[in-house]
């Protein structure tokens, strides 16, 4: 399959960047509505996020005394600020042929998610590492940090070449961030392997990954519900393997059932290994799914400002 590159303008136009900012704002508001995030850390630090008060003790830095409160209450109190932990955000994008053909919407969606996650990571002052997985897992980019690194994220997405085979087993086995880079791992893939059960087997490796793991399974609606029937000659976009079928409505229903079963099995496998799994159909509203992804307890959400 010919490699495909994502057009920078198409993918990250001004509107999309505005949407990302809006998403970050919505995420912050949502977080504030909750008194405490489930994933927020109990540690305090020197961030600007006020967390609590406590009595001043002599061993503490006097600069931490809230003099306004002393004036009102005539007692010394120290302001406690929430410490925001610094994570590594690992974003792995499946660049196999099935992610670009026959439905290029999958590639667009995956890259949008990747960029959005990267953006969230950067504005959350996390280190962002980007990967591509296919037949193998690529070496990660240098960890990116700060809003200024967004362009590099975009460059990465722009430079990704789609095509080739999928080897989930090997990719996931090789994809193993070091403990030093403990953090949040996002895997953007359709999880279509050479065999139906390949993804489930491969997910076992993900249990060893250091950090919070999210599998975002991207698929096209026509992959869930084929829109053809009758005598057809199928050709696999990766292996070029051909199969001739006479697809009846009954067979189509069987296919849908099998696909749903596949999704359910992936979800169950992830759940059993404390891994988050998100089905991402390309025709679903991007914003809602993205918010839902981060609002379900991701540590990344807590870092959004």
């Amino acid at each position: 399959m010919a490699a495909a590159k994502q057009n920078d303008e198409e993918l990250f136009d001004a509107e999309f960047l505005e949407r990302l900012k809006a998403l970050a704002l919505r995420l912050r508001k949502r977080k504030q509505l909750r008194r405490k995030g489930i994933q927020s850390t109990p540690a305090t630090g020197f961030t600007r996020e006020f967390k609590d008060f406590r009595h001043y003790t002599g061993n503490e830095d006097y600069r931490a005394i809230d003099w306004r409160l002393y004036a009102r209450l005539d007692r010394l109190f120290v302001r406690l600020y929430e410490e925001v932990q610094e994570f590594h955000v690992h974003i792995a994008v499946d660049t196999s042929g099935s992610m670009v053909g026959p439905f290029p919407e999958k590639r667009i969606t995956a890259l949008k998610i990747a960029v959005a996650l990267g953006y969230m990571g950067l504005i959350g002052n996390h280190r962002v590492s980007l990967y591509s997985i296919g037949e193998d897992s690529s070496e990660p980019t240098q960890p990116l940090k700060g809003r200024g690194s967004l362009q590099r994220v975009l460059d990465f997405a722009q430079g990704l070449e789609f095509g080739g085979m999928t080897n989930l087993e090997r990719s996931f086995e090789k994809f193993a961030p070091t403990r030093r880079r403990y953090g949040i791992i996002f895997v953007l893939s359709d999880l279509f392997g050479r065999e139906v059960d390949e993804a489930r087997e491969a997910i076992r490796h993900a249990a060893r990954w250091p950090g919070e793991t999210h599998f975002i399974q991207v698929f096209h609606p026509n992959e869930e519900k084929p829109d053809f029937d009758g005598e057809i000659e199928l050709m696999d976009v990766e292996t070029q393997e051909q199969r001739r079928l006479w697809l009846t409505p009954r067979d189509r229903q069987r296919y849908e059932d099998r696909f749903h079963q596949f999704l359910s099995e992936i979800e169950a496998t992830c759940r059993s290994r404390q891994i988050d799994h998100q089905k991402w159909r390309t025709d679903y509203p991007f914003d809602d799914l993205f918010l839902d992804l981060l609002s379900r307890g991701s540590a990344l959400a807590s870092g959004a400002s």
Binding site: G97, S98, G101, P102, F103, D190, F192, G193, R194, E195, V196, E223, P226, F228, G230, E231, I232, E233, L234, M235, D236, V237, E238, T239, E241, Q242, R243, R244, L245, W246, T248, D251, R254, Y255, R258, F259, F262
Partner: protein, 628 residues
């Protein structure tokens, strides 16, 4: 290969439909997918290679075309070979059931039985679509089964054909067979008999006779290897003229031409069950011997002739059984102008009358027309203006023309010393001495037509006899009274007597004994006929009821109806008795009728079997190993 109904071949055009469907079939869509693994698990059992798919498509197309072709061929009735013996659309079985087919072999199996067996076996090989008719014939043909495709019914009819003791009449049988054969040609006439229809025809080969186009005769000639048959081929009996209770019998004995050697036959005659006489006759193969003998008896007595020959193979022609005919006196009327003019005729008639065989009524012209029924009339010197067409007559000295008598009286009679005999063997001149006759011609007449001149003077006939409109007539152009010697000799009464016997001969026969050939249809009044037949040396009587006025004489023997009509029927056929033998003394079945080996010409069964196989193959390919 040949199609019996080629008009159905246009249905092959239907093959365009599968051809078009094959050429313009919907191509399968090619779809690129990323989820082939799911489709593979879905239809794992249906996967097959591309070459097999292509092969199946071609096989499917070929099978469809084959199936259509086979179906059309079945409809068109495809026959295997052009020169196949059963390429015909119709077969007419012409089966001889005459008496000679009753000749049996040592096992008691008659030629008719053998013929039926061969035909039945041969019919089993005739393709179903060929219609078959069955005609059995003896003296007349009988269509037992019109053209049918129902073999069981046909075989049943064939089995029901029984022997009939009759001679055969092939011309009418062939005519009937041609009539049916011509309805739907090409037709084969299977002729099963002991003799081929036409002498030119060889066994199993087409005969040389010119038959209507499309009709062929296949001969199945049945014969025993060696047959000896001596039979009675002719019989006649009549009362001896001028003798009381005596009968003269003529019979002809013949030996078949194919007999191996000469034989000596013994003819036994019994009257009323009592042996009367016997004769031994030496016969050469093919020889016919006529025997005449006299016997005494009275009417109603049963005369039985039985011919015994060693090794005789055919019994039906060995017996003749008749009732002795009634010997009623002949009643004649003598009409004369004036009795005194010619006493000699009266004397002659009186002499005849004394024999007891004649009764005479006499009268003048005023007695005409007669008030009584007579057997004959004698016009002497007078003729009625209106000729009696229903009576045999003797005309003596005609005065002029009347009816068939074209005569003119001579004003001056001419005496002749002698006459020239025209036909010495004629019954009217039996024992009449023509050499010493001196007559005086009194009239001239025309003897043209059916009148045969018996005596002539110069070129003129003076005595003639013949038949006019079914009645016999004897014409005498002389006057006995004016002749010199004739009335004084015994020849004149004999001449008168012979003439009387001869002219009424037929009527006497019909009034007494009816001799018929078997198979004749006779009009009989009454409701029952009693048959007297000789069987195994015993006389048996059987009563046969009948309802219509016409009765078929289907037995050999003497019969009598319940109201007294009687007669006899016999085969009496030289052809029927001359039994043929197999050529070279070997019984062989013509090749055409042999059933061993060779397949039936019809391909219907094969084609239908082919259709079934195609359906099975197609079902196996496309259902068991289905393409999905």
């Amino acid at each position: 290969m040949q199609f019996l109904y080629p008009q159905f071949l246009w249905l092959l055009l239907l093959g365009i439909i599968p051809v078009m469907l094959y050429l313009f079939r919907r191509k399968s869509k090619k779809v690129r997918v990323s989820t082939l693994v799911f489709f593979k698990t879905l239809a794992k059992e249906h996967q097959e290679s591309a070459w097999l798919r292509r092969l199946k498509k071609i096989v499917s197309f070929v099978l469809t075309i084959l199936m259509l072709s086979f179906a059309v061929f079945v409809l068109s009735r495809l026959i295997a070979k052009q020169d196949d013996p059963d390429r015909y659309r119709t077969i007419v079985i012409l089966l001889d059931r005459s008496a000679s087919m009753g000749v049996a072999d040592e096992g008691g199996n008659s030629l008719l039985d053998a013929g039926k067996d061969i035909l039945r076996a041969r019919l089993a090989k005739v393709p179903e679509e060929v219609g078959v008719s069955l005609i059995a014939y003896d003296v007349r043909p009988e269509v037992l089964q019109p053209r049918t495709l129902n073999r069981r019914e046909l075989i049943s009819r064939l089995e029901g054909v029984d022997l009939r003791p009759m001679a055969d009449d092939r011309s009418s049988a062939v005519e009937a067979a041609n009539l049916i054969a011509g309805l739907e040609t090409p037709t084969a006439i299977w002729h099963a008999s002991d003799r081929p229809l036409f002498s030119l025809g060889e066994e199993g080969e087409d005969s040389g006779l010119q038959l209507p186009e499309g009709i062929t005769v296949k001969e199945l000639t049945l014969a025993q290897p060696e047959v000896t048959n001596a039979g009675i081929t002719a019989f006649q009996i009549r009362p001896v003229p001028l003798e009381y209770s005596r009968y003269e019998v003529y019979t002809q004995i013949a030996l078949n031409s194919d007999a191996a050697e000469p034989v000596t036959s013994r003819l036994e005659v019994s009257v009323g069950g009592v042996p009367n006489q016997f004769r031994e006759i030496d016969l050469e193969p093919g020889e016919r011997v006529g025997i005449t003998f006299r016997l005494d008896g009275v009417s109603e007595q049963l005369l039985h002739l039985h011919l015994k020959t060693e090794g005789d193979a055919f019994a039906l022609d060995d017996d003749v059984t008749v009732s002795l005919p009634e010997s009623r006196p002949i009643l004649a009327a003598w009409i004369r102008e004036d009795e005194s003019e010619d006493p000699y005729t009266r004397f002659a008639l009186s002499a005849v009358q004394e024999s007891g065989r004649f009764e005479l009524l006499m009268g003048g012209p005023d007695a005409w027309p007669l008030s009584e029924e007579v057997d004959a009339v004698i016009f002497d010197g007078w003729l009625p203006e209106e000729w009696p067409e229903d009576l045999p007559a003797i005309v003596i000295n005609p005065p002029g023309p009347s009816g068939p008598v074209l005569a003119r009286a001579l004003p001056n009679p001419i005496p002749y010393d002698a006459v020239r005999v025209g036909s010495e063997e004629h019954p009217v001149l039996f024992r009449v001495g023509s050499s010493r006759v001196a007559v005086t011609q009194t009239a001239v007449f025309q003897s043209a037509g059916s009148l045969e001149p018996l005596w002539l003077v110069g070129q003129e006939p003076i005595l003639a006899a013949g038949e006019v409109k079914g009645r016999r007539l004897v014409l005498m152009g002389f006057s006995p009274g004016q002749s010199e010697r004739l009335p004084l000799t015994a020849s004149f009464p004999l001449l008168i007597g012979n003439a009387l016997l001869w002219i009424v001969d037929r009527d006497m026969e019909s009034g007494g004994l009816h001799q018929h050939s078997t198979g004749d249809l006779v009009k009989i009044e009454g409701k029952e006929v009693s048959w007297k037949q000789w069987e195994n040396g015993e006389l048996k009587t059987r009563r046969v009821p009948f309802s219509s006025g016409v009765f078929e004489l289907d037995r050999v023997g003497a019969w009598e109806s319940d109201i007294g009509e009687k007669g006899s029927s016999h085969i009496l056929s030289a052809v029927e008795s001359s039994l043929p033998t197999a050529k070279n003394g070997e019984v062989t079945i013509p090749e055409y009728f042999q059933v061993e080996g060779g397949a039936s010409g019809g391909l219907k069964l094969w084609l239908l079997s082919g259709l079934l196989v195609i359906l099975l193959v197609e079902a196996w390919f496309f259902h068991r190993l289905a393409v999905y």
